[in-house]
């Protein structure tokens, strides 16, 4: 205590800072205790001394190149940051000078020319003080917000970054709303933000993914186009995990802004339509797989009326033509998307119109099953059985009967391709999960009994697995009946 009194009674601000640094190096609890005891007038004198000194130190460290002096200045900055931190923690009296000093200090955060372990420690300290102010929305915090965010972004985007910086960034994410990206000095942040969409630390963490979804919609979606471009490039790697993470982010961004900012949702919808188009016409299998996975996040969710409308708007203009395309690869890829997104529905004033749309889809299912190309037939078989499983009780019985009849009478005996026969067995395995289908399947399954001797080993193995599933289902049923009757 006594030592701090001596130190702060020195005339020169630089001497004070040096003294504080030396004492705090050993023990910095004394500083806040001392600052608690000072009166308002004393405090004013202290900060009148410190502010110019800190300001000078920052100014000279930003231009200084001499290493011996730099050390000295860094010590001064550390001491200044500690003083500000301790002073801000006090609830009693906060002169305006403290905030001025903090603003000065924050200028050092944005200086990346002199990066080293020493400067990092000082920056980290300054940043933590700034963050504390931003979290409690201290007045004037918007002034040092950009430099704090830049510092945290840069640190969290390093190749060997720890999760700590990411968490600290997420804690002040409300500050992003105050940023004005049209200003020239903040354009730099845009590049950093785009890099967030690629960094594994961000994609791994669920909270960070939420943050990314908010980022896309931020400032009226100025990042949207750029982000969609970045995602497109990333997806080319074909990683399933990555694609579904991006899908989740885009879906959340779309859903959250549907009411808040319809114009942005509209733009995002256009980007998604481009994905669908590219997926259908993808030449590269990896790209197709990535896009399929990304769009799965849109297909496999509980659909509201508005969501259904969006899907119709996305798919209706492109899907029908590509399903009749002359190129079999395009047809098969379009079939995958079509079967995934089924059913396309929209609430319309006339029931005839929605009925027409559904009937069009049922007809398409049948025509896909009759396709000339075996790949399309195989995909259609798996897809149709999946649809039967999901929507058994909602489909018209006549449609179900027709589809099953075609599968069992024709596709099950597809001599030209084992792939199709394999798809039949796999599809039936899927369909067996739907208990309502058992009544129909009981009569139909013996039709394919000769699959046990199929030429293709894959089909034989799958068929035995199907039999195993039949056995398990009947055991489960027995147990359920037992539970009910006892």
């Amino acid at each position: 205590m006594m030592r701090f009194e001596e130190i702060f009674s020195q005339k020169e601000g630089n001497d004070v800072l040096r003294g504080v640094y030396l004492v705090c190096k050993e023990d910095d609890t004394g500083l806040s205790k001392f600052l608690e005891t000072v009166t308002q007038s004393q405090s004013m004198t202290i900060w009148n001394k410190l502010c110019p000194a800190i300001s000078d130190a920052v100014a000279s460290v930003l231009v200084e190149n001499n290493s011996s002096d730099t050390d000295e200045l860094l010590h001064a900055l550390t001491a200044g940051a500690k003083c500000v931190k301790s002073a801000l923690a006090l609830s009693t009296f906060k002169p305006a000078q403290i905030k001025a000093a903090l603003l000065d200090l924050s200028r050092f955060l944005g200086d990346f020319d002199k990066e080293s372990a020493d400067t990092f420690a000082v920056r980290n300290l300054i940043s933590s003080v700034c963050e504390a102010c931003i979290i409690v929305s201290e007045s004037g915090s918007e002034n040092y917000l950009p430099s704090t965010i830049t510092f945290l972004l840069r640190e969290s985007l390093r190749a060997d970054a720890k999760d700590g910086f990411l968490k600290r960034l997420l804690a002040i994410k409300h500050g992003f709303e105050a940023l004005d990206f049209s200003r020239a000095d903040q354009v730099f942040i845009k590049d950093l933000l785009l890099r967030c969409f690629v960094h594994p630390n961000y994609l791994k963490c669920a909270d960070a993914r939420k943050f990314l979804a908010e980022l896309i919609a931020m400032s009226n979606g100025f990042l949207c186009a750029a982000v969609c471009q970045v995602i497109k490039v990333q997806i080319a790697s074909g990683s399933v995990m990555l694609a579904s993470q991006y899908g989740g982010i885009l879906h959340k961004a779309w859903k959250d802004n549907l009411v808040k900012s319809p114009a942005f949702s509209r733009r995002l919808q256009d980007s998604i339509q481009t994905y669908v188009h590219e997926g259908i016409y993808a030449e590269n299998a990896k790209r197709f797989k990535g896009l399929k996975q990304l769009l799965k996040s849109f297909h496999d969710v509980n659909r509201s009326d508005q969501f259904n409308l969006m899907l119709v708007e996305i798919y209706d203009p492109i899907i029908w033509r590509s399903l009749r395309c002359a190129n079999a690869t395009v047809r098969s890829q379009a079939a995958v998307f079509f079967l995934d997104v089924f059913p396309l529905q929209k609430v319309s004033p006339s029931p005839e119109e929605s009925d027409r749309l559904l009937q069009k889809q049922f007809d398409m299912l049948t025509s896909l099953l009759k396709d000339d190309d075996q790949r399309v037939r195989a995909i259609a078989t798996t897809g149709v059985t999946h649809i039967l499983r999901e929507y058994w009780d909602m489909l018209p019985p006549a449609t179900i009967q027709n589809l099953l009849k075609y599968i069992f009478d024709t596709l099950a005996f597809d001599v030209s391709s084992a792939n199709v026969r394999y798809a039949v067995v796999m599809g039936l395995q899927d369909l067996l999960q739907q208990p309502l289908s058992h009544k129909a399947l009981k009569g139909l399954l013996p039709i394919i009994k000769n699959y046990i001797h199929d030429r293709s080993e894959r089909v034989r193995v799958a068929f035995v697995q199907l039999l195993n599933m039949v056995r398990l289902q009947s055991i489960l049923l027995c147990r359920k009946r037992h539970d009910i009757y006892s």
Partner: protein, 322 residues
């Protein structure tokens, strides 16, 4: 619930077809494993009150389609506990000791009676499993004839072989197995095999295979069943009697396999070739029988040794024989 119908797999595919496919695809592990899973409740019922239910079904299965039964029991351990598989092998082995039901009377009565007596004398330790014969006083054994006996013997070997790699981690199963399959009982099995009027060589070969696979998990078997015993009392008499070259080869290769698994030293094997050579020349001098069978036996041993990277000795022996 009303709308849900019960489908059963044997209504879809007849069981005959399943068994035929199981036998045909016995080299396909994935398929056999799934098929075993499918049939496990039919041939290896989990909650049966009858202790011998599994044994009865096993014998019935092996009579129906032995190849299918072999691949079923080879994969059984994947869909059942190791303990129950080793219990089944022990039970089957115990059934084997009683011999087949209706061979020629003079050979059948003596060993079975002996065995039964021995079991009754030493019956304190293992009453639950060995009382098969006593449970069914009308019949002497569950196994109807010698071919079936051979199949069950083969099946027991398959069962032991299938669980052999994991037995070390399952001490209680191992103990159970070794309680019933030990030196004394294996000797009994050899005696039963030797006493059969037909298929004797195959039975001996089968018994040797079982000894071979059991000796991998229990080293004390090699101490009890000595090399000389196996060679002079079991193998050579079979060789003397057989007239078929193929059979001689099977017996000798089973013997060499067992000897190597039991950890007998390579020099010992060298010795057997010597003794076989001597045996052959003895016969040749007496001109009782063409020694070609023995020569084939010796060369098949040489082949086996060569496979086991004992090239030098094998070549040496080969040249001696020629």
């Amino acid at each position: 619930m009303k709308n849900v119908q019960d489908i059963v797999f044997y209504d879809i595919v007849p069981v005959d077809h399943l068994l035929a496919r199981l036998a045909e695809d016995r080299d396909n592990d994935e398929l056999c494993s799934s098929m075993t899973e499918l049939l496990v409740n039919s041939y290896f019922p989990q909650n049966s009150t009858d202790k011998l239910e599994r044994v009865h079904r096993c014998i019935q299965f092996v009579n129906e389609n032995s190849l299918a039964a072999e691949s079923f029991y080879r994969h059984l351990y994947k869909h059942s506990s190791i303990g129950s598989v080793s219990k089944l092998s022990a039970m089957l082995f115990t059934v084997l000791l009683t011999g087949p039901c209706s061979p020629a009377p003079e050979v059948q009565v003596e060993p079975t009676g002996k065995n039964a007596k021995r079991q009754r004398n030493g019956g304190k330790k293992a009453p639950a499993l060995v009382t098969v014969a006593e449970d069914n006083p009308g019949e002497t054994s569950l196994i109807p004839d010698v071919p079936c006996f051979l199949k069950v013997l083969r099946l027991t070997t398959v069962l032991v072989q299938s669980i052999q790699p994991v037995l070390k981690d399952h001490a209680s199963s191992l103990n159970l197995l070794l309680k019933y399959i030990n030196v004394k009982s294996l000797k009994q099995l050899l005696a039963v095999a030797m006493s059969q009027p037909t298929h004797r060589e195959y039975l001996v070969a089968g018994a040797l295979q079982l000894i071979s696979s059991t000796s991998v998990v229990d080293s004390s078997i090699a101490e009890g069943l000595t090399f000389d015993l196996l060679l002079n009392e079991i193998c050579l008499p079979q060789l003397r009697q057989t007239e078929d070259e193929q059979t001689a080869r099977i017996v000798m290769s089973c013997f060499v396999d067992a000897a190597l698994n039991m950890g007998f030293e390579v020099p010992l094997l060298e010795e057997i070739t010597h003794s076989l050579v001597a045996f052959a020349s003895n016969i040749r001098s007496k001109k009782q029988q063409e020694p070609h069978i023995l020569l084939h036996a010796v060369s098949s041993i040489a082949l086996l040794l060569a496979e086991r990277r004992c090239n030098v000795i094998a070549n040496d022996n080969n040249s001696k024989v020629r």
